[in-house]
Symmetry: C2
Subunit: 107 residues, 2 copies
């Protein structure tokens, strides 16, 4: 079962949910940004400058978390997100490369 914050375990990750999460350009931008950061980087949701309302931001990060793409780390008065890089590489080999290649090709 997903934990109380909605993080699925490795086996619970569903390709359909992951693809649906990544189909959105803003959510894809969050993930490709995190892929390019050093391993283990944690960032606040606001730091991605997505240019959307706070409620939209909350919604997009919830979709990413529930699909298993990011972990939310709670620091009491702030919350940060971290890419589940190893989990994703192990569960869906090649997916992060696909996103990186496409993101670079379009820059």
């Amino acid at each position: 079962m997903p934990d109380e914050q909605g993080h699925p375990t490795l086996n619970e990750m569903d390709l359909g949910a992951v693809l649906a999460a990544l189909a959105d350009p803003l959510r894809r931008r969050v993930v490709t940004t995190l892929i390019d950061e050093p391993e283990g980087t944690e960032r606040t949701c606001a730091s991605f400058d997505l240019g959307v309302s706070k409620s939209s931001l909350t919604y997009h990060f919830r979709v990413l978390r529930e699909a298993g793409l990011v972990t939310h780390v709670d620091y009491g008065n702030s919350r940060k997100v971290k890419l589940r890089r190893h989990d994703l590489e192990s569960r869906f080999p090649g997916m992060l490369d696909l996103l990186t290649n496409e993101s670079r090709a379009r820059q």
Copy 2:
């Protein structure tokens, strides 16, 4: 511009549209079935036994065609679909493998 049947060119293919098309389990099943078929296989839409109405079938195949995943080949009184295997391998390297691996792992 996409042609009159809505097939995008290689450069018009958009990763967001492809991921959205593949997020649906029925559409993903069509694509993974075609991946496993010999190169150049053409099949009727009905042959996939998706268990949905004719209008749903038309809708799902339109989404696949407009995303660039399949080509529709018109034979006058019948229409068949073919995977755009080379285009997909060239435009989104690793994506077909990702789908195949996941489909095999879940069988």
